[in-house]
Symmetry: C2
Subunit: 188 residues, 2 copies
DNA sequence: TCGTTCTATGCAACTGGTTGCATAGCAAGT
DNA sequence: ACTTGCTATGCAACCAGTTGCATAGAACGA
């Protein structure tokens, strides 16, 4: 279960509450792992009772109190153990590809709107990643010489950028193909 | 649940048994959707009892009998309905990226073997996809003018190729980064 | 004849993750 | 006063998918 490990990494980078983790999973960590707040709260509770995490009640002004989690010794050990285990290279699960092949048995042109919508989402993500890279790594106000952790964060971000760039280019290809099929189809 | 829809598409392209579907999910369809045989058998059974599929007992010589499934009318309707519904652009779940960020809290160089292994797997997949493209679409013995279904299969395959190419290039980047960090680290 | 491999199907138990709902403090606007 | 919105946490029910195991016919080689 990689969610545990993603949480360990995130809490090592910066301790925080379940709520804060959920927001990180919509941002940086979430670029390559997603989780809902319910799932996060449940896993945090289990990890704490397994001794992987420490909790601390933090009273706050102007907002409800929170529980701040941080990684305990056994949590670090567990992460280290996982890092040394091999994992399976993951396989894609790409709904849109299923749809595109399915369109052969329906009207291909009906997919145009859907593909354009996905194109916009991925273009936006790409722009967002590039802005983050500029801010943190390559821009004028960016960090100076990077430590290992920052280098690794950057190479992961470059992976996200490469993925979104590739996806946008492929969706262009899909759109061209759909238009070509539509032009050849007198129904359109 | 996209497994149902992936099965509908696959059975429309070619009727077959659960066993045959499981093998297709290791090949063409499996490039962008995976499923185990247990999951496939269970879903087939449900889809059949829901009236989406027809079954036919096929006695075979030299091997056990099989049940051949094909798409029934309501199955086609269900697929068509799904094709016209919008779906969420999917987000990545990339264990290796979690590991790479986690390596900052362990020994980055220890990841080299793992990353190289993933690199080999993705290079192999790329070669496999390219061979399939040459055989079916771009080579001398390939199909002549393509119909819409074949065009769509090709554009999905091009997506797989683009994904694997991008991944291999990114893993090169990761390896370079890990080597750089290792060289700067007196432990190595 | 015995083990292995391939085709072919399936059950049971479990895990991970989603969805829907609920609660509560506090701030800011209308 | 009322609503909206953000922070913050959680339960319960459900669903999808994995893992481990089991069965069985047939081919094939040692």
């Amino acid at each position: 279960m990689a969610l545990e490990h993603a949480i360990l990494v995130s809490l090592l980078e910066q301790p925080g509450s379940g709520y804060e983790l959920a927001r990180r999973f919509e941002r940086s960590i979430g670029y390559f792992w997603t989780a809902t707040h319910q799932q996060i709260y449940r896993v945090l509770k289990r990890m704490e009772s397994d001794g992987l995490l420490d909790v601390r009640d933090v009273p706050q002004e102007r907002r409800p109190d929170k529980k701040e989690y941080s990684v305990a010794g056994p949590g670090r050990t567990a992460l280290s153990g996982w890092l040394h285990e091999p994992i399976e290279p993951e396989s894609l699960r790409h709904d849109l590809a299923v749809k595109i092949r399915g369109a052969a048995f329906d009207d291909p042109a009906a997919l145009l709107d859907e593909v354009e919508r996905h194109h916009r989402v991925h273009s936006d993500r790409l722009a967002h990643y590039l802005a983050g890279e500029l801010r943190d790594f390559t821009g004028p106000g960016a960090l100076g010489p990077l430590d290992a952790g920052q280098e690794l964060q950057h190479v992961v971000l470059r992976g996200g950028i490469a993925y979104e760039r590739m996806t946008v280019a492929w969706l262009d290809d899909v759109l061209t193909t759909l238009h070509r099929l539509g032009a050849a189809d007198p129904r359109i």
